[in-house]
Every structure is written in structure tokens, then in C-alpha cells.
Amino acid sequence: MRGIRVVFGLLVANDAVDLAVRAGEIHALLGENGAGKSTLMRVLAGLIVPDAGEIRIGGRIEPVGSAHEAMRLGIGMVHQHFMLVPTLTVAENVCLGLASTGRFFPDLKTAAAKIRDLASTYGLDVDPNARVADLSIAGQQRVEILKALYRGARILILDEPTAVLTPQETEGLFRILRALASEGTAIIFISHKLNEVMALTERVTVLRQGRVAASAVTAETDARRLARMMVGAEIELPKLEDVSAADDGGHLPVGREKRRGDILRVSDLTCRDSRGSLRVDHASLVVGAGEIVGVAGVDGNGQQELAEAVVGLRRAEAGTISLLGQDVTAAPVARRIALGLAHIPEDRHRTALVEPMSIEDNVILEQVGRSPFSRGGWLDRGATRALASQIIADFDVRSTGPAQKVGTLSGGNQQKVVLGRALSRDPRLVVAVQPARGLDVGATAFVHRALLARRAAGAGVLLISTELDEILALSDRIVVMFKGAIMGELSRAAVTVEKLGLLMAGQAA
């Protein structure tokens, strides 16, 4: 792939990206969230047509305009979220959309035999007649790989394949991938996890902000250097210090040892997702007054579930959560809000905002039942409008007024509404998840300043982000999550990118 450029609206997802992968090579594609890895691979898989650049396969320039085309060219992709029909059998999933297994009557017997052949060749232990829903996650992943191989894939893309696997399963996957590579298949392995990249791959390309940051032979580099390349060498740390210094009197010394009482205390918290797999694993952390605690980690390591448990959207299976000294483990959301919790959720469209409603209606969502908005159960529109106007002014929401529908605002202004709603009621604890996602630089700075202002006002802030820059810029302390567990905690003074990177990859610092 040469000079690939993909633009989504104002966002340049890929710019002048070159990537060369040889037959039989396992090539790592490394980068943070939003670095453009998935976009690049969707281009290769024919799901996105690039705005510029070319793709050569076996030396020939090939336009990969559709999934069918990619398949014909021998490109197979194992998506992060499996594209399998759970109620069908393995053989049926493999035959789906594949006319060569019988135009009208899919020949499942022959297909099953061929699947067994492929499986035994590469050590993919799969029963072709099993229902996919009955397979383990690792088993389903093997089906995905089989699906690609059955279609004659010579280039196999795996998007974060180990995110869902146990260490043992990961070892199994690596054996399979090595076997495939030794047979001449080119493998592109997308990952954040440095130890896996080091263990498995021959070469590595690092993407950062849509561009190639580095390309190297894996054996000639090491995890620390890769971590630095992935995150970027120069990180602007001083944001927190700037604000604190400018703060009148600077009464909140940075990284101070004594905290003025705990706001949030999470002990041994364990949560599962709706499918029953463990998402938060005996996690404990404390957020004190006037401090920002950053939770770093690769996306999908339980940070989301941790936040949901703290705000009350997810049931805690074990452990306790206390807010201002009160046990709220089983308390409904309303009680936590009454105690002073504010939530800036990751998915503002789904979780924070009611888009068909006005700004005015959205800002009172959490406190509509309280004075002055409710007078004997009647809405006081004067009070709600006043609050909306206030937030529009204080948080610089560009709108036509309180009556404008939130769904018609720009993303940045929507986030300002969320922020204004959360912060204007003087919360004691702010749980902010990816608060700057999808925002431009100006809006991001605004959001960060607002969080720092809450800190200065003595609130605790739990900041969950996969953007290391954001975590590093704002946090007094940083905890790192990996597979649902807290891997370690770093004070602001002690933090280095290398230490963070290693913890995020699941290695003890």
C-alpha cells in the first residue's frame, strides 16, 4: 500500500501511509486508538475506498472496491467483533455467501471435510458441525480464520485478535499464525500490546495520528522504543501545572501527598458484561477531593464497565463502591446523583443526550425533580430556561437558544451541553469517560480546562481515557487497567511513557 489517504469529513484518518508486507511475514501494525489502523485495514479489505494512494498485490495495482473484490484478491479480515452468525454451524458460516460451495444447495458435507483438512493443516481445532454460539471466543476466532482461509486468503488481517483471549488462547493463536506464515500467508497483526508484537512479529509499522511514525524490524527494536514511537516522543505535560500555578493562591499543590478526604472509594469491584464474561476484576481505587485520577488503558480493558459501575448503570457482582463515605454499591443512579455524582459518558448520543429534545430539556434531565425546577411536581419553565441560558453562556454553547434541539448541535457543542449539565450543579465527583472524543483542539482544551476547574473547586475527578496525552496532561495520579484489573498506579512525578506503555500492555512496571 502506498500513499494511502482517507478523509472523513474534517478528520484525516490516514495520510500518506505506506505499508509493505511480504508473503510469509507476520507484520505488526501498532498504534493508539484513533491512530488510523482500522481505517487502513478497512481500505485493504475493500470496505473503504481511499481518497488517494494505491494498493499493489503481487506487484499489480489492484483497485479494491468491494468486499467481494478483496476476497477475490485473497484478502481476508478477522474483525475485532466477529462477523459470525451465532445460530448457524461452523460449516454454514463458512459457506455463507460462497457460491463455490453450491449455487443453490450448499454442499455442507464437502465443505465440512475441507474445513477439517484446513483445520488439521494449521492446527485449528474446530468441529465443522458445531453451532458457533456453542463455541468459546477463541473457537469463534478460529472459525473466522478458517472462513478467510477457505476463501483462499493469502493476506490475513487480524484486528486486535488477542483482545478477547486468555494468555493460553493467545499462545494457541500465535502457533496457528506462525504455521500459516510458514506456508506463505502474509499476516497483518493489529495490536496495542507490545509484548505480543515483540513475541510474534517479524516487522512492525507504527501509526500515529494517521501517519506512519516508524517502521522497523521487530528484532532490532524493543518494547520501550516502540512505546515511545506509538505515543509520540514529546508529550506536553505541563497543563495541570499551568492551571495550578495560575490558580489564585495555588492552594492545591500538584501531586501532593495528603488528600482532603476521599470522594470515591472502589474496593475489590468485580463486574461482568451481559454475556457473563468478566470485565472488571477485583479493581480498587480511590479518588480524593481536589484530585484528578486518570485511568489509562487500551480500549476494552474494563474501563467502560468500571465507569458504568461507579455511576450505577452496571451492577457490581462483588466489591463495594462508596461515595463521600456512603456505601452506594447497590444504590440507584438517582441516589448517587443526589450525593453529588456527575457523569460525562463516552457515548454522548446514546447515554448522555436526548437528541430530539431541546437544550433546555437536556440540561435539567438529572435534577428535574428538584427545586427550583419542580414546584409541587410542576415544571418551572422559567427556572429551566434560566439554567439553560446560564449553561449556554458559561460553557459557550453555540446555539440559537435554549429551545434548539440538541440533535442539531455540532459534536463539540453537544459535549459542552453534557459538560455544562454535569459541572453546573457543583458535583463532588465527576466521572469523565473519553470527554474529548471526536472534538477538535479548541473544544478539547475547553473540556480540559473545565475539568481542571472542578478539581480546583475541590471535586474529585475520575478521568477515563485511552488518549495518553489527555491522561498525562490532567491527572494527579494514574492507574492503569488491563483485562479488568488495576495493573498499577503511578504518581505524577513518577510517570514515564515507557512505564505506562508497559503497564498498558499487561507487564508489571
Binding site: F8, A13, G34, G36, S38, T39, R42, L47, I48, A67, H68, M71, H79, F82, M83, L84, V85, P86, T87, L88, E92, C95, L96, G97, L98, A99, G102, R103, F104, F105, P106, K147
Partner: protein
């Protein structure tokens, strides 16, 4: 005393034959519902498709004098009804329930309107010579199976054959595989080059034609006449049958027979064990359906994408 003597009782034989006869139309509609629901489209419009089928079938048979033509016309009309439903539910992604109810209302109005337009509103209702049961000789006298299976007309045998055919299509053919995949995980199907929209349109067209055939059974086999709203909610009953039969062709057959038997039994109240009001018997299949829905006897197992409109997700977020 022989406890099996009742098997030879003519009243009981009549009850069995009636159970099957009453089961056929709702079974056909449910079979239609099976195709659309397995592909992910909730077809509340079965009622309307049946009514259209009953009407068009009757008119075509009356005008042409050929029952076969009537049946064919009913199937085609049902298919057209299905395609319109598809336009709303698949292409426009409209609320599948509201569309279904509105289409049912439309079918009720259109059939009654054109019936008066064609036949006037006189008291003498036009009639066609309905299908008559085939004479299968001694087969009809086999206890239990005889009245159930061998005292029916040709349409009933077609219906039973369609159960087998539906099973074959769903379980064994590529089209069936596509339907199942599209109903469960349309995104996965799409990544493999299956056209979700085409499959769903095909499924809902089949759905409409089967319901139309079920309607034709009402007018051309059961009665030989058409009356306003003659389906009387059978399309909704088909939805219950579908759930009770776990959206499987053989399950649908059994569930339809259960409804048919309940219906036949209430017409023969003297056969009832003393003391049970027949209304409770009529309720039973619905109560069973609710029990299945609530998961008291295992999950309902509805297709994961049932009722959710599909949208292409080509571009956009990374």
C-alpha cells in the same frame, strides 16, 4: 371395555378432520410469517395478506370459473401485498407494527369496497363451487390418521407439502441459509457479499404469497364464498402459532393443529370433558404462546435482528 374405542367413533373422526381443516389456513399464514421473521422482518400484515388472498382468489375463481386460477391469483396478490409491506419495512425502515396494522386496515377496506363494486350489495351472495375432499377410499377409514390426513381436499395436501418444502428451503438451500443469516446477523452476511435487502424482499414476498394461499383456502375450500373480514383475526393467530411452533415448519404444523383442535372442539362442545367452558379451551393456545414468550419453557429464540431495520454501514467511523 376397550379404552381405544373412541378412536373409531365417527364424532371423533369428524373432530379430527375438522381440526386439520381449521388448522390449514392459519398454518399457511404462519408458514408465511416464518419466512419473513426468519429473515428479520416482523410481518404483522399476515392478516391483510390473507384477506387479500381470500378476496382475489374468490373473484378470480368466480370470473374464470377455475379454482386453480383463483388459487394462483390469490398467491400473486399476497405476494404483491408482501412487496408493498417490504417497501415500508425494508426500504423505508418504517415501524413494522404500524405498517402491518395500517396495511391490514387497508386490506379490509379494499376487499370490502371492491367486493361491492364487482358484485353489488345485493342479498344474494355469489358462490363458487369449493374444493371438495378427495376420495381416498379406505385410507380415510384408518383410525386417527384417516380423518386427520385422508379426508381433505387438494389444497390441504398442497399446504402439507408446503410445510415439507419450507423445511427443505430453510434448512437445506443456499436461499434458506441466507435467510437465516440475514435474520440473525445481517452485518456478518453483508461482509460475505449477501445482499440483505434482496433476501428480505424475497422472504417477505414468499410470506405474503403463503398468507394469500391461506386466505384462498378460506374462500375457495372452506366456504366457497367471500364475506367481509372473513379472516377474522386469523393472521394474528398465525403470529401466535409462529411463536408456539418456535419458527420451525414442523413446529408450526403442530401448533396450528393445536389451534385447529381447540377451534374444532368448541364447535363440538358435547365432546368436552364436563365442566370446562369452551372459552377456556380457546384461550389455551394463546396462554401457551405467552408462556413461551416469557421464557418459562426456555427462550423464545426469536432471530436476533427481528424487527430491526437494516442500514448499510459502509463509511463513517473507524
Amino acid at each position: 371395555m376397550n379404552t381405544l374405542a373412541f378412536l373409531a367413533d365417527p364424532a371423533f373422526a369428524g373432530f379430527l378432520a375438522a381440526s386439520m381443516r381449521l388448522a390449514i389456513p392459519i398454518m399457511l399464514a404462519a408458514l408465511g410469517g416464518l419466512f419473513s421473521e426468519r429473515s428479520g422482518v416482523l410481518n404483522i400484515g399476515l392478516e391483510g395478506a390473507m384477506l387479500i388472498g381470500a378476496f382475489v382468489g374468490f373473484v378470480a375463481a368466480y370470473l374464470s370459473g377455475s379454482l386453480a386460477l383463483g388459487v394462483m391469483a390469490a398467491v400473486i396478490a399476497g405476494m404483491a401485498f408482501g412487496v408493498i409491506l417490504g417497501l415500508y419495512t425494508i426500504t423505508l425502515g418504517a415501524n413494522q407494527v404500524v405498517v402491518g396494522i395500517a396495511m391490514n386496515l387497508l386490506a379490509l377496506g379494499v376487499t370490502a369496497f371492491f367486493y361491492r363494486l364487482i358484485f353489488g350489495s345485493g342479498t344474494q351472495s355469489p358462490r363458487v363451487d369449493a374444493f371438495t375432499p378427495l376420495d381416498l377410499g379406505l385410507l380415510a377409514d384408518i383410525p386417527l390418521i384417516g380423518p386427520l390426513l385422508f379426508r381433505q381436499d387438494i389444497l390441504a395436501y398442497i399446504a402439507l407439502a408446503l410445510i415439507l418444502a419450507a423445511w427443505f428451503v430453510i434448512a437445506k438451500t443456499r436461499f434458506g441459509l441466507n435467510i437465516r443469516a440475514v435474520g440473525e446477523h445481517p452485518e456478518a452476511a453483508e461482509t460475505l457479499g449477501v445482499d440483505v435487502f434482496h433476501i428480505r424482499y424475497a422472504a417477505i414476498a414468499i410470506s405474503g404469497s403463503l398468507a394469500g394461499l391461506g386466505g384462498a383456502f378460506l374462500s375457495l375450500s372452506a366456504t366457497g364464498i367471500f364475506i367481509d373480514n372473513m379472516t377474522a383475526g386469523r393472521g394474528y393467530i398465525a403470529l401466535a402459532i409462529l411463536i408456539l411452533g418456535r419458527r420451525h415448519p414442523f413446529g408450526v404444523l403442530l401448533a396450528a393443529l393445536l389451534f385447529g383442535a381447540a377451534d374444532a372442539l368448541q364447535l363440538r362442545a358435547q365432546l368436552l370433558p364436563t365442566g370446562v367452558p369452551f372459552q377456556f379451551l380457546l384461550m389455551l393456545p394463546y396462554v401457551l404462546t405467552i408462556i413461551v414468550l416469557a421464557g418459562f419453557v426456555g427462550r423464545d429464540g426469536a432471530p436476533a435482528a427481528l424487527g430491526v431495520p437494516f442500514r448499510h454501514s459502509r463509511s463513517g467511523e473507524t
